[in-house]
Subunit: 205 residues, 2 copies
DNA sequence: GGCAAACCTATCCTTAAGTATAGGGGACTA
DNA sequence: TAGTCCCCTATACTTAAGGATAGGTTTGCC
């Protein structure tokens, strides 16, 4: 019976997926609410066969969380799961050594198949995923953002000033200005308010 | 055995929650991937006791979807579910007649309790999700705005600069600054981005 | 008439936002 | 090894945003 560790900060999503996997297919599922908790939980026992990480989750910091998890437990397979990430993120994740990428648009039955697939040693990436060019311009624009730029955009979406963002990210205000300038250019907008509104419109944060 | 219709565009989330509710508590759960599909599905049979709508889902258009659903099936209880919406959205939804608001940060066990609560005729809103709206950002804050301030706010919500707003309203830029300053104070926020986000959150424009 | 409120404008000021240029360091890659 | 990309920082600058004060107009109300 394979052991799975599922990390997602949405309790409802995490619990129900865990319960589904346990009852329907007899997997043994542990859960965690963020990356640190997941890594802690793996330290005691090395019996985890598959670690599933939510892409938007405290501690993940983009794909840095994937690297941390893989470095901490090289033997364990790591899959990413996301409801918002696009093809580019998925490809990057796979390139960085993820064993699978699970969009939340997947059906529950497919999830089980994907997990079995990954546990058997293969790597899973749904091929139709992200193929449809929905709102191509803006959607693709967000994928061009670097990790730091995404974090900066997230703070813009709460209406924070450069100074506050600098404090939160523990960098200098000038650096924040640089990130802001670059992300404005990449999104094709002319000020921070437009950037925040655009991101909100696309339900990124 | 109560009938529940669960509408969410994330197949994985929807299926697992549905499966959980069915297996763990014996609810009879139907599903839909968007609002139109949900409303269609309800037309044939009027046996649905509770409709659960994902706040971010095709066809919802903010809280308009809630109104549509309630108008189409006045007898049916309607609850909203969201992973991103905040206290303000929840309060507005309850004010507009929702029977419950389910943040996805809820535990699976609490979800079952919430559903039972709603089915019994009560209305469910988690405590920590703010029964108390924040003082300065109260609903009435917007009603304090003068006509010009409202027009100014509307332009802020497209991310325009003071200069552009001045041109659009055919007044001087200094005057726009005055309106902005006053409306920021009335809304209890500290800059134009926060004002725009707040207005958008309330679906004012 | 006096009064209040919303609206408009002006001048002055401080701080924030955004641009430009230049450079150092780390990580990955050909 | 060189090249590239991201990240960080620094200096310097221009423009925008926001605040403070002091007026001015109209409308309408008591």
């Amino acid at each position: 019976m394979p052991n799975i560790l599922l990390a997602d900060d949405h309790d409802l999503v995490r619990d129900t997926i865990a319960a589904y996997l346990e009852t329907v297919d007899g997997f043994n599922v542990l859960t965690a609410a963020n990356l640190d908790e997941a890594l802690e939980r793996m330290d005691g026992l090395d019996a985890i066969d598959l670690l599933i990480l939510d892409y938007n989750m405290p501690g993940m910091n983009g794909l840095e969380g994937l690297d941390r998890a893989r470095k901490a437990h090289p033997a364990c397979k790591v899959a990413l799961m996301s409801g918002v990430a696009n093809r580019d993120v998925a490809n990057t994740a796979m390139a960085r050594g993820a064993s699978g990428f699970i969009p939340k648009s997947l059906t529950a039955a497919s999830l089980v198949n994907a997990i079995k697939f990954v546990l058997s040693g293969e790597r899973f990436l749904p091929f139709d995923f992200g193929a449809a060019p929905q709102e191509a311009r803006a959607e693709g624009a967000f994928s061009k953002l670097s990790a730091r730029e995404l974090q900066t955009l997230e703070q813009l979406c709460i209406g924070l000033s450069n100074k506050e963002i600098a404090r939160n990210l523990d960098i200098q205000e000038v650096t924040v200005k640089l990130h802001v300038k670059n992300l404005l250019a990449k999104l094709g907008v002319s000020n921070r308010t437009q950037a925040a509104l655009l991101a909100k419109e696309r339900h990124l944060f």
